[in-house]
């Protein structure tokens, strides 16, 4: 009788042991080779990263999303704006609204990617000193192509913090009040990361969720506060290019 395998009778496997050993060996090599190949072609998640504990003093701008505008210095002659967010996937809109236009001391953890400077886990405290109203500089009307991301993940808390795999997370973050950023395919006046707001400069409407995580083309105006560009657009009119 030719070979016949019975699971509970190990000796019955002997006629096929060579074949099975070869199959198992090939499977192990194949799995390891595929793991090496797939693991080594990971998409570049970009350079966003932790930038240290922060303790900053500046003026709060609450709309469209919380910003802290720092006074001009040698590195930032027009002033420097830092996007503010809470711990986890929540914003600090309530804190920022209460202190809008006032000088505050902000503490939190910094993340930086390109021109995005983000503080998370932010706590605001009123501070003494001047609180000049930040200047809003119009940069004209633009048709931009790029991706709507949540500023927190995109700035380096997650790598990658963009793309369709990350879409649901971006929606949860932005719904929770984390500032959204528009990552453009080409720079706008030197900025590839633009804070987003609606056409009137307020927070995005709830309908943004269909447009996150993928390339979108949209029209709107761009303004600058300190060194942060803000894209004011009707996100519901966005189209897939």
């Amino acid at each position: 009788m030719s070979a016949f395998f019975v699971g509970w009778h190990l000796a019955s496997i002997r006629p096929w042991a060579g074949f099975l050993g070869m199959v198992c060996g090939c499977a192990m090599v194949l799995f390891a080779a595929v793991a090496l190949a797939l693991g080594s072609v990971a998409s570049d998640p970009g350079g966003g990263d932790f930038s240290g504990e922060k303790d900053l003093t500046g003026v709060v701008v609450a709309a469209p999303y919380p910003l802290l505008v720092l006074a001009p210095d040698a590195e930032h002659p027009t002033g420097h704006a830092v996007l503010l967010s809470g711990g986890g996937k929540v914003g600090i809109q309530v804190q920022a609204d209460a202190l809008n236009g006032k000088r505050v001391r902000a503490t939190g953890v910094g993340f930086k990617r390109g021109t995005i400077d983000m503080m998370v886990g932010v706590q605001l405290q009123p501070a003494e000193g001047p609180s000049p109203e930040p200047t809003v500089i119009p940069l004209g009307v633009w048709r931009l192509t790029g991706e709507i991301c949540d500023g927190k993940c995109e700035s380096g808390i997650m790598r990658p913090g963009n793309g369709l795999s990350h879409k649901a997370c971006a929606n949860v973050c932005i719904s929770g009040g984390v500032p959204p950023v528009f990552v453009t395919t080409a720079p706008v006046e030197g900025a590839s990361f633009l804070l987003m707001g609606d056409a009137q400069g307020r927070a995005l409407p709830d309908a943004f969720g269909d447009h996150t995580g993928m390339l979108q083309r949209m029209d709107g105006s761009v303004v600058r506060i300190a060194d942060v560009a803000i894209f004011r657009t009707d996100v519901t009119a966005a189209v897939t290019p």
């Binding site: 699971g7 793991a35 970009g46 929540v90 790598r159 993928m214």
Partner: protein, 343 residues
């Protein structure tokens, strides 16, 4: 064979089987997470959660593909049968790998928000009316539910409780789960990938599953002619000693006709354990032995030897003009039928 339930009826084959499986999975995960990053061209490495999602997610997909290939491969080449023997452990391990992938995604993407994580999972993306950006998570959830359900019901207790036909139908749900996983990857990771390698590998996997099933499906023989209601099964010398042929029965499951010690006996082709194909088994120690898990039955009455209690449906045979004829009317399970002596 079963006279009582054990959490796992360990034997040497299962230990070897599980050891090889664990080694394959461990090497895949280790290479993906700790070796491959040295060859990446990235500004900064992926975060730990995202890397874990990729490693365990792709591993689960390949394991699932392998599980689905084992059945047809064993049908085409009997030397693959030992891989089928412990396929349930394979399934449970695949479920554990998939759960690890899901847990990483769940913790990373849907926790730390004011919403309940499950609410965040189900409401985070509701773009059901578009293909690009479609909530691919729902397919992943479905695939995971299938895997968990099959893993949870993989024990022989559930097999007996649900009965083999129901259990087998339930476990055929793995194909729906596989389809859901393919859609999950196609609408998720593949949309975000900048390199086509994953798409190429995944397409090859799906093609392999399809081609193997098509090739294996072509093997069954044609139904024989009938004489006065009896089915012509063929010549006795077409059945090798200690082996069987499967005789197709119109509108019913095939019947296995075994030859042992110069006598022929007919039983259903479906093992009472997991409905394995008995005709692909052999006679060992005077008993029909299933190729899948070694369940055994006596030739004459289809009963498992004591203390085991499984019973098979039996059939009558007769000779006419040198041909073996099969009465397609089944006897009740365990009915004694005198084996037909080959002239």
């Amino acid at each position: 064979m079963s006279a009582r339930y054990l959490p796992v009826g360990w034997n040497a084959s299962k230990l070897v089987y599980d050891g090889v499986l664990l080694a394959i999975v461990a090497s895949y995960i280790a290479v993906f997470l700790w070796v491959a990053p040295h060859f990446q061209h990235v500004t900064l490495p992926l975060d730990a959660y995202s890397a874990r999602m990729g490693a365990f997610g792709t591993c689960a997909f390949f394991l699932l593909t392998a599980i689905l290939c084992i059945g047809p491969a064993a049908r085409l080449d009997r030397r693959f049968l030992p891989l089928l023997y412990n396929r349930r452990h394979f399934g449970v391990l695949t479920c554990a790998v998939a759960l690890t992938h899901a847990n990483a995604a769940f913790e990373w993407y849907f926790s730390y928000s004011p919403l309940d994580p499950f609410v965040a999972l189900l409401s985070g993306n509701t773009s059901f009316r578009q293909i690009s950006g479609f909530p691919f998570e729902v397919f992943g959830i479905f695939g995971l539910v299938v895997l968990v359900l099959l893993a949870a019901t993989s024990h022989d207790f559930w097999l007996r409780f649900l009965t083999p036909p129901v259990w087998k139908s339930l476990h055929m749900g793995l194909y729906a789960g596989y389809l859901a996983v393919v859609l999950h990857v196609a609408l998720g990771a593949l949309q975000a990938a900048h390199n086509p390698l994953l798409a190429v590998v995944m397409t090859l996997c799906v093609l392999m599953v399809g081609v193997l099933h098509l090739a294996a499906g072509r093997r069954p023989a044609r139904p024989g002619d009938t004489i006065d209601g009896w089915i012509v099964a063929g010549r006795a010398d077409s059945i090798a000693e200690g082996r069987a042929i499967a005789v197709p029965v119109p509108g019913a499951e095939p019947v296995a006709i075994f030859r042992h010690d110069g006598k022929l006996s007919a039983v259903t082709n479906l093992c009472a354990h997991q409905n394995g194909p008995l005709s692909e088994g052999a006679v060992i120690d005077g008993c029909i032995t299933c190729p899948w898990h070694g369940y055994q039955y006596r030739l004459a009455d289809g009963c498992a030897p004591p203390p085991y209690t499984e019973k098979l449906v039996t059939f009558r045979l007769k000779f006419t003009d040198g041909m073996v004829l099969l009465d397609p009317s089944p006897n009740p399970p365990g009915t004694y039928v005198e084996p037909l002596r080959v002239a």
